[in-house]
Amino acid sequence: MHVTVKLFATFRNGRFKIAEQELPEGTECRRVVLDLGLTEEEIGIIMINGRHGTLDQKLAHNDVLSLFPLVGGG
């Protein structure tokens, strides 16, 4: 299946802003995160097609997955 992955802020460093990925049917969001070399602890926001998602969520064909890092300073 075909998934568009969008990265934001520091997640873009050494990676990309937007990429098209071919993934096996039913791939979980977590798999994509780990394959990008990101850890679960770094994740701030997961959006799937503009709605909030979770790491456990299974992706579907033509989904757009957006990942933002955790920001907590002051």
Binding site: F8, A9, T10, E40, E41, E42, I43, G44, I45, I46, M47, G50, H52, T54, L55, F68, P69, L70, V71, G72, G73, G74
Partner: protein
């Protein structure tokens, strides 16, 4: 007070009360700047120091700001700018909360820090700074960490709580207390070139949802640190939200978060709209 009012009226020119007259009244009647500013605003006299607020903020609104009490939780990067702007805006009472003292690594961005204030409590520096820029504003300094145990007491009588914390766990405690105390919370967070802002009204769970994936520790700020400009940008957006909440005008960042990327100059709006609940068939 009758005499003081006559005094203030006599010195008002073109509807504006000069700072020099406010000072003279304080001296002559042996009272405080806060008392004189309150008296002036209650009687429709606009202190000249706020003249550039005018047409944007009316005399009645300036009085409402003066009668407002805002808690600023954290007096570092965000908190320093928030306090500076609230005081210049004319918010009458500020509760400044922070357990820390200034250290050298604060100097690149924390507006209340100077080489001379190293080792000084951040809340004391806040008191001194506000006394310098706007003596009509009262700052209550609390040199302690905000937490579930003392939070309720610290937010007593407060109209808005401003999140200027640097810890996600304390921030979640502030969100919890704000909800329980029914106080609106303006949330801001920064890290490097990045930051975000959102406003949580009583009953909303926006902040909890922003950090729903949080497990432990800090965010990107741990690796990136924070530069001079990111706290100023996010703090200013927070103060704009505070101003609108206090005056009941404009469109708040409610159920949405503004994510700011100063490196690529991108702003993204993330929706936290609560999904519509469907009615169950009986």
């Amino acid at each position: 007070m009758e005499d003081a009012l006559t005094f203030l009226k006599d010195w008002t020119r073109d509807g504006l009360l000069p700072w020099s007259a406010q000072c003279a009244a304080v001296k002559h009647f042996g009272t405080s700047h806060a008392a004189m500013e309150g008296l002036a605003l209650e009687n429709g006299l606009f202190p000249a120091r706020y003249q550039r607020n005018r047409n944007m903020i009316s005399t009645a609104e300036q009085l409402r700001l003066f009668q407002s009490r805002v808690a600023v939780i954290g007096c570092g990067g965000l908190g320093g700018y928030v306090i500076e702007e609230l005081a210049r805006l004319g918010v009458g009472q500020i509760v400044a909360i922070d357990p820390d003292i200034f250290e050298e690594h604060n100097l690149n961005r924390q507006i209340l820090s100077t080489p001379a204030t190293l080792g000084k409590a951040k809340v004391e520096a806040a008191v001194d700074r506000v006394a310098e820029i706007n003596p009509a504003v009262t700052v209550t300094a609390v040199k302690d960490a905000f937490c579930l145990a003392n939070g309720f007491e610290l937010l007593a009588g407060v109209q808005v709580a401003v999140d200027a914390l640097d810890s996600i766990s304390y921030r979640l405690e502030l969100a919890e207390v704000s909800t329980a105390a029914e106080v609106p919370m303006v949330h801001g967070a920064i890290g490097g070139w990045y930051g975000h802002v959102a406003t949580q009204m009583p009953g909303d769970t926006t902040v909890q949802r922003i950090y729903r994936h949080w497990v432990a520790g800090k965010g990107i700020e741990q690796q990136l640190g924070n530069p001079a400009f990111t706290p100023a940008v996010v703090a200013s957006l927070e103060v704009a939200e505070v101003c609108k909440i206090l005056l009941g005008k404009g469109e708040l960042l409610r159920n949405r978060k503004l994510s700011i990327d100063l490196l690529e100059m991108e702003v993204h709006e993330i929706s936290y709209e609560v999904p519509m609940k469907l009615v169950d068939a009986a």
